[in-house]
Every structure is written in structure tokens, then in C-alpha cells.
Subunit: 248 residues, 2 copies
Amino acid sequence: MKLTVVGAGIGDPELLTIKGLKALQQADVVLYDALANEALLDHAPNHALRIFVGKRRTVKTSTQEETNDLIVQYARTHGHVVRLKGGDPFVFGRGFEEMEYARRHGIEAEYVPGISSAVAAPGLAGIPVTYRNLSRSFWVVTATNSDGELSADLELAAQSDATIVVLMGLSKLSEIAAIFKRYGKSDLPAAVLQNSSLSNAKHIFGTVDTLEHQLDTLRTAPSVLIFGEVVGLDVRRALEGLIVEGRR
Amino acid sequence: MKLTVVGAGIGDPELLTIKGLKALQQADVVLYDALANEALLDHAPNHALRIFVGKRRTVKTSTQEETNDLIVQYARTHGHVVRLKGGDPFVFGRGFEEMEYARRHGIEAEYVPGISSAVAAPGLAGIPVTYRNLSRSFWVVTATNSDGELSADLELAAQSDATIVVLMGLSKLSEIAAIFKRYGKSDLPAAVLQNSSLSNAKHIFGTVDTLEHQLDTLRTAPSVLIFGEVVGLDVRRALEGLIVEGRR
């Protein structure tokens, strides 16, 4: 009777860790959501149940409470439950809550870290989150709090020299850009990154001022926004200011 | 003729990605430093050269310039160079500089993300860097800039509600704590984390006020400092306020 919360990484199934792979190979049940690459399910044994618990747009098929209950029920009836979550389970993933819930019900719970889009998506797009003498820190923020309001952290973030990485922020890009502009950072390099580890990667490079006007061709998809001087490091690319498609 | 900069993860050799494993298996030369687990070298083929390029305390055996040159020379003479770096290569790792240098010399360069201690060390110590309604962002900072001065980002970080993760900061703990105290955060939960993924893990939990006085038994080693309400999440452990040894 055990729960293993596994970070699935950011799309490319080879960005799973060896430890995550071994957990999947020993799973009796895999609970996965939309952000985990479904190819990873092939690592689970034939007998393992594969259950989708992601949040769909139209109908909330699985609330967090339902997922918590499923974990406990399946651990009791089937043994080893692997909860596969996109990125790292503790980066805005509610993985800790699921582990707490399992433990309160007497179920052992383990965490297996995953590659987070906060660092790896910029990296795969050619943007290091830190760079000597240019960025000495990076700050990872969600666009909105649980009430759907713009995160108060963004106000302070826009005043810092940190590289700012915003997860789940595409629909709020105009409001986020407005905050940076208020602090005189219209010309700060910025980018929108989608599917950075996959062959259909889409990366748009611009500035705080231009980025929101460059989104015409961008489909709605999980996106990483990044603001900071490090975005301009690849000067040739920054001068082009164009959409970069395909794996880098 | 190729360079692959691979994130080695944070100690446990199973925290390497499958992609990183495959790169090692196809290496002709592996350049590694002290932060990468040497067990990972076993994945390289028998014929592959294994070269230590880490910085030693007493003698600077390899400067960054020397490492850059080694990458280019070995790529030319041997083919595929894997540069194995602890954590993620772009988190204070200078991995991007090595890729830039290689590309300027006509050598293809690829980045393979790694598990960073910034997120995974807290996670393995039972601390999620984000938690609903408690921490909506996390900020990853080094203690000092390249001149050895305390990072200016820390001043702003201490004023934010973000979870603050400080890498390479153990020797500056008193000065960092002083900044948090100046902003009325003496009671903010804080922790020092070492070897979090290994059986000799050492984790000390306290507050901004108490932490520096709890370090007597702590050996000098690469450490992650973390400040924020999320550190107090595991209530039982926080009440004990004691050193936690061993793998969690």
C-alpha cells in the first residue's frame, strides 16, 4: 500500500528520471493528468490500471478531492499507486497535498522529483535562467492566485533584476506586461514558450512592449512566459524577433 | 563533433534523466566536476575518457577557460563530449557559456536538463516550494555575486512572500538571516538541507532567528537554504525542531 508521486517532466518522454521510470515499472495503478505525456504509460506493467484524472475544460471530471479519494481507494485495493504529474509535483502541482492526504490515511508516500518547465523550457529554447553578470537569480511565479486574481508577487517581481518565469500566464500576458511597463521595463527582453521539448515547439521572442502583439499565430496551450536580460542572450535570434519553430 | 551538456541531478544517480543516460552511453569523453555523482560515469562506454574538471579547494586545477578549451579539443580529437554537471546546467552552472564557446568553434551543442537542487532538495526534505494559499512563487538566489559580495537580490527577496531558496549560501547564513530580521521575519521558518537525495542526508529545521545557532553539528558541504512558510508545513517535524538524518 503505497503512493509514489512522480514528476513526469515537460513533454519529451526521455526527460523522465530513471527513478520515475522504475516507479512506473512497479505500478499497479497509474493516475495521470493532461500535462503528463501519455507515452510514459507504456512503462507500466500490462496489469496496471491507467486512469485519467486531469481537469478537462468543459466538465470538471475529477476534482482534487476526488483524486485524493481515488489515490486512497486504489492503494487499498491494488497496492502501489503512481501519481504521474507534469513537470515537478511540488511546483504548483498539489503533489504535496496528495501525499499529505495519503499519509493521513495510513499510506506511505514518496516523492520523485521531475524536470520542471520553469527551468527546462527556457533552457531548451536557448535561454539560461541564470547567466554570469547578467542574472543572479530567477523567480518562478503563477499568474493568478487560487481566486483567479493577478498574483501580488508579480508587482515585486517586476521591480527586481531576477529572471522572472511565469507559469500558466498566457491569458494574462497584457496585464503582466502592464506591470513591467509601470516600472520602466518596456524594453526588457521577453518570450513565450510552448512545447519546448517537443518537435512542435513554438517560441516567440520580443520585449515587454512587443510580445503581446506578436501572439496572433499562437495557439492556446500550456505556456511559459519569461522576462529578463537572459532572454536576449542569443543576439542573432533576438534581432530577428521572430517565431522559432521546431526543436532547437 | 558534438557537445552535450547534461544535468546530472542532485546526488542520487537515479535522478538522472533517460535522455541524460543515453547521452552518457554515447560519450567518447566525459568531463565531470565534483557535484556530479561519479557512479554516473559507469554509464559511459569502456573506451570513453573520464576527465575531472571540477574546482578543487586548494589548487584551481581547471579554470573555466581551461574547461572550455578541453571541450573544444576533445570534441575535435574524440568526437562526442558529454559535460556532466551537478543539478541543471543552466542554474548557476555556466553550462550556457560552455555551449556558446563550443558553438563559436563550430561544434554542435545540446542541452539536457537536470533535476535542480533548488526544487528537489526541499521536496526530498518534505518541503514543497509552492503550496496552495501559502506560497504562490519561489525565488532561487545565490548568496554572493561573482565578486563575493552578498547578492543585492536578497534584500528584495526578504520583503516578498515568495519561498526563498538560496544556493551556495551556508557560509553567509548569518548575513542572510540579518536581512530577513531587518524586515521583521525573525520567526519565518527556515532550513538547511544537505545531500537530500542520499542516505547521509542532513536537514536542520528552525527559524530565521534560530537556524544559525543550530549549525554546530553541520559539516561544511554543498547546502540549500530555504526560507518560507512552506518550511513549517510538516507540523510534527517543525515542533520537534531537530536535525533529521537519513533518507526521508
